[in-house]
Symmetry: C2
């Protein structure tokens, strides 16, 4: 068997998940990256995930198809709903119902198939957009669920959910990733990137990212349109 331990890493193509992948690799895990095609407004996010996966020497990258057209209330999956460009109170229109629960569930199943005892997710509870499924209490509840949900869990090899970014600011994430050699030019964070991955510079995600590079004192390689 492999001397390295296996990990499934959720990879969106954004800045956070690219950093989480780099951290998993640096910690010595053999990485299986998992992305989702779930009816995002733009495919440049998935192209970014592929570029990131190719730029790191990982074991495998798979894209899982999820038809979330049932969930047509989010600005990320319904083009008729505008992406907000101002900070809002509460949970913004870009929230996709149960998204991280579904992503982690699929990761849990794939981990069991791979006999991987680790899942990495780049959620972040500091500079984030107020999503309920990015908070430590969510991750803790999913960890408890994972321990009882699978054959592997029941047979004593529970999956460990790793959230290396959860307590970091965006600037700290960028600093850590930069040290690990993450090429952020490959990543796309914008909620409404164009076909080539150029960012709008105005949505919530763009503003957090831009501010993060400034605070980190790292040159921002993002292509704005």
């Amino acid at each position: 068997m492999e001397s390295k331990q296996k990990a499934v890493v959720l990879l969106s193509g954004g800045l956070d998940s690219a950093t989480a992948l780099a951290i998993a690799q640096q910690q010595g895990y053999q990485c299986y990256a998992l992305s989702f095609r779930y009816g995002q407004r733009h495919t440049s996010e998935l192209q970014a995930a592929e570029r990131v996966a190719n730029s790191m020497n990982i074991e495998q990258h798979r894209v899982f198809d999820l038809d979330l057209s049932l969930f047509d209330t989010s600005a990320l999956t319904n083009c008729d709903i505008a992406v907000p460009t101002e900070s809002v109170e509460g949970i913004p229109a870009t929230y996709v119902p149960a998204r991280n629960t579904i992503f982690l569930s699929v990761a849990l199943g794939w981990a069991e198939v791979l006999q991987a005892a680790n899942i990495f997710i780049g959620v972040n509870a500091v500079d984030y957009s107020g999503y309920p499924d990015c908070r430590p209490e969510f991750v803790q509840a999913f960890q408890t669920l994972a321990n009882v949900a699978t054959k592997a869990g029941v047979e004593g090899i529970p999956v460990q959910i790793h959230t290396p970014l959860i307590q970091l600011s965006k600037a700290e994430i960028i600093q850590q990733g930069t040290k690990l050699g993450v090429d952020y030019a490959l990543t796309v964070s914008c909620y409404q990137a164009d076909r080539d991955g150029a960012a709008c510079g105005q949505c919530d995600s763009c503003r957090l990212r831009k501010q993060g590079f400034i605070e980190a004192g790292v040159a921002d390689p993002t292509r704005y349109r």
Copy 2:
């Protein structure tokens, strides 16, 4: 708004979920049935789900596509693995990794979109096949997760997971469903039903079902081939 409360009901096309749907209806919920096309060996299960949905006066029935070809270790999704016809110790080959976790996650998202505060799942911890994700501790852990995973949960309208069959024997399920008018001839439980839904009579699921009708003292309407 509706006077009836909404519920998402997981509907596989088998005996248990048809009974769970009948119970949800009898309790006065406005029912939204959710089935999955996940690469089952046979499509007669989904046809059965459709027949059951049509036979009850429900609000909506949706089929969600899930490409579980990542999970090729189960006899239910990989035709190269034999369906067991003998009882086995431990968790059988028909186990699909994280299946109920994934199904409930999607149901959770749909419930939030519908503003439904209820999910029904026909899991059963008595006459079942030893799956980890049919046990009360699994359901309890998912309930805890649901409370923190969604915008609805955070805003004080958490989803309630209902498992009306969890402590019933197969015979008791059949008796209860029969009282509620469930037409079990419409349902398919067999793991290897043929194209027309005729059952093998030998797999785990067939044996539990057959024995259930005998113990319930109800005529078995199953078509065996």
